[in-house]
């Protein structure tokens, strides 16, 4: 028993040594540092843009002078009902007002009379303000005409105030908050997609590197193929996690500081869920990428051999984008979120929108883990059978060990002694 435990601990130690090399060598590489800095700058820039350009509150400074002053209060009220904040200023003379418009302290000066207002602006008038003032001026004119015919203005106002258009909504509209949740979900999902794509291909390239420079022959004298495979995937996975974490921390802190995101409760669930699904999604695809990489011996073949895996991942992303954001709580989304290989991209959106029940989350994770288990077993077999076969591309049948071949002994190299070990 003790021996078995020591062997297991030792096997884990070797896997860790392999993982540590993958991590430390790559985290110091120029490519990693540059891409991380660019990603952090990208997310930071995006949030700042949201905060200071698109979300900039539209406050209109409008000066009123002379007879037009009586339009100030109703104009402000009407503009507010249209979602535009207007600050009204009382200006003593038209000349002063024009001066303030030129200097920029006022956006618009309203002069003239209540029935014939004149707008003075720098270049162009705010269309909404112009419409509102036109309506108000017409109302004044109408009130004047009706008063001449003995109808009191107060009666008219009362009658008009009671008149409005009633709106019947058949579907509950998306609130600003839920739009924000979907955007956050899709951003997280997109981050996962890019990470899985980039780091998955890094795994394939790493496998080919060791195969093409023949170092794998030395490594496999003291490390079993599964330890090498697992260590490589773990090391590169930690790297992916570190990069995503750096981007996420910067994103969350800046979003909170600039108040771009106003749904803080979503934050924790999305961060935890995003992390879990990054790990699960990465593992699914990384094993597939590793198996693909082990089948060729030259770095030039990395893209052709990983194409099938990339296609599956891209298809999953396209399906996610075309279904999930438009109907985050539909049955289609629920089904997609449970399908392994798709779930890592769909689940983050469902977590962000809060449309997920506990049992669905658990089923999704269990199915993903089962898929990882199967993929790891198949990839491990392909890797073991292919990684010592130099030269041309290994056929899938050979890689799976379904067909015997001349080099069967070499490919199973590290297994036979292993079997002997277990017997002893």
């Amino acid at each position: 028993m003790l021996d078995a435990r020591t062997t297991f601990l030792d096997a884990m130690r070797l896997t860790l040594v392999v993982a540590a090399r993958e991590f430390t060598v790559r985290i110091r590489s120029r490519v990693f540092i540059i891409t991380t800095v660019l990603a952090v700058l990208g997310i930071g820039g995006y949030i700042l843009l949201q905060a200071y350009v698109f979300n900039k509150p539209a406050v209109l400074n409008v000066g009123f002078v002379g007879g037009a002053e009586q339009l100030a209060a109703p104009a402000r009220a009407d503009m507010a009902s249209l979602g535009i904040t207007v600050t009204t200023h009382k200006v003593s003379t038209v000349a002063d007002g024009k001066g303030e418009v030129s200097s920029g302290t006022l956006d618009t000066l309203v002069s003239g009379s209540a029935t014939a207002p004149v707008l003075t602006v720098q270049t162009s008038a705010d269309g909404t303000l112009q419409t509102v003032l036109t309506d108000l001026a017409r109302e004044e004119v109408l009130n004047g005409l009706l008063a001449q015919h003995g109808i009191p203005a107060a009666d008219i106002d009362r009658a008009l105030a009671a008149t409005s258009v009633q709106v019947d909504t058949l579907t509950k509209p998306l609130s600003a908050a839920s739009v924000q949740e979907i955007v956050i979900g899709v951003l997280v999902s997109g981050t996962l997609y890019i990470s899985m794509l980039v780091y998955g291909q890094l795994v394939a390239a790493g496998v080919i590197e060791e195969k093409s420079n023949r170092i794998v022959e030395i490594l496999l004298t003291t490390v079993r193929p599964w330890q090498l495979l697992l260590g490589k995937i773990a090391g590169i996975g930690l790297l992916a996690l570190a990069q995503v974490a750096a981007v996420a921390v910067v994103g969350v802190v800046m979003a909170a500081a600039t108040r771009v995101v106003t749904v803080p409760t979503v934050g924790v669930a999305v961060a935890v869920g995003g992390g879990v699904w990054l790990v699960l999604g990465y593992l699914m695809y990384a094993f597939a990428f590793a198996a693909a990489g082990s089948m060729v011996s030259r770095q030039e073949d990395v893209s052709s051999v990983s194409m099938p895996v990339i296609l599956v991942l891209v298809a999953a992303w396209v399906i996610t984008l075309s279904v999930v954001p438009y109907s985050p709580s539909s049955t289609a989304t629920t089904v997609l979120s449970l399908i392994p290989l798709m779930s890592p991209l769909v689940m983050p959106v469902r977590i962000a929108t809060g449309d997920i029940s506990l049992w669905q989350a658990v089923v999704g994770v269990v199915l993903a883990i089962a898929t990882i288990y199967v993929l790891a077993a198949v990839s491990g077999r392909i890797y073991r059978n292919s990684v010592l076969r130099m030269g041309g591309r290994v056929r899938l049948g050979q890689a799976l060990g379904l067909r015997g071949s001349a080099m069967a002994g070499a490919s199973g190299a590290s297994d036979a002694p292993a079997a002997r070990d277990h017997l002893m």
Binding site: D10, L14, V17, V18, R21, V25, S29, E209, E210, N213, R214, I215, V216, E217, I218, L219, L220, T221, T222, V223, R224, M390, S405, A406, M407, G409, A410, G412, A413, S414, A416, P417, A418, R420, D421, M424
Partner: protein
């Protein structure tokens, strides 16, 4: 002691090894020579346990080589392999750790080894910045860094300049002197002749000659070079069993039949004048290798 007995290996229709046996003693450097494709690399892989033989056994100190005992072997494969973008020292530490050393021990083992191989000042360089010869030294260092108890080196001298060959030979001799069995293969027979205690010649997967360099070169006909300035043709006709092989000015190469006393030739020479030189003509390992290859090929 590393003992390989009756190894056979077949790749499809190719019989790579046929009933191959030899042993490498403690403290001995065993040189393994043969033409390309003769089965050297296959033998080394089987010796290391990364490849299974169809038949036969490999015993190290009486027990089969296991995954665990492989950690005590230093291996340099024919196809060199190191990480081009890793520093020399990090590379060695990594291999040491894969052989079971902890971080501190790995670092402690790597530095003196680089010192020994004259690479101390390149420790922090990336491997790809080193010359071919220096990369090869790093490869040897990678095989030695875990202080292995057995060395299996496939073509350690390939592509090295004479200075590097000497440096590597010194290191290997020191390893053997420390009592380790060293098994190496090489095409550079002059180096093998100088360095190896025993040599095995393999052809088409079978061992065709095996022994010390002296034993191997003593095989074949007994020939003497005799330098007799005053001699004319037929000066040794009186010596029974002596035949002329070659004649170049005052130098005569004479082959003696079995049982013929070489002193008779010397006396015949002295009878016609002074004898300036009288020495046994030993074939070099290269000549021996050629003749063995021709013999076994014609037999095959």
């Amino acid at each position: 002691m590393l003992a390989l007995s009756h190894l056979s290996k077949r790749y499809g229709t190719l019989q790579a090894l046929r009933d191959l046996s030899f042993a490498v003693e403690q403290g001995e450097i065993f040189g393994f020579v043969g033409a390309n494709g003769a089965g050297k690399t296959t033998t080394m892989r089987i010796a290391l346990g990364v490849l299974d033989a169809d038949a036969g056994s490999v015993l190290w100190d009486g027990t089969p080589i296991t995954f665990a005992s492989r950690r005590r072997i230093g291996y340099m494969p024919e196809e060199r392999g190191l990480y081009p973008k890793m520093t020399v020292i990090a590379q060695l530490e990594y291999f040491a750790r894969l052989h079971g050393l902890n971080r501190g021990a790995a670092h402690a083992a790597a530095l003196p080894l680089l010192e020994l191989l004259g690479l101390a000042d390149r420790a922090r360089s990336q491997l790809q910045a080193l010359s071919h010869g220096n990369q090869q030294r790093v490869q040897l260092a990678a095989a030695l860094v875990s202080a292995p108890e057995l060395l299996v080196l496939d073509e350690p001298f390939a592509g090295l300049d004479p200075v590097a060959v000497d440096a590597m030979s010194d290191v290997l001799r020191a390893q053997a002197d420390a009592g380790k069995p060293v098994l190496l293969s090489s095409h550079q027979l002059d180096i093998v002749e100088r360095l190896c205690g025993r040599v095995g010649i393999i052809n088409h997967g079978a061992m065709v000659a095996c022994g010390t360099v002296a034993e191997l070169t003593a095989r074949g006909p007994v020939r003497f070079w005799v330098d007799v300035p005053n001699a004319g043709p037929g000066w040794f006709d009186g010596v029974h069993g002596a035949t002329l092989i070659e004649h170049d000015g005052p130098s005569w190469l004479i082959q003696l039949a079995d049982g013929t006393d070489e002193q008779g030739v010397l006396q015949a020479g002295l009878a016609v004048g002074p004898v300036r030189e009288f020495r046994r003509d030993r074939p070099s390992l290269t000549e021996l290798f050629r003749s063995v290859m021709t013999e076994t090929s014609t037999n095959a």
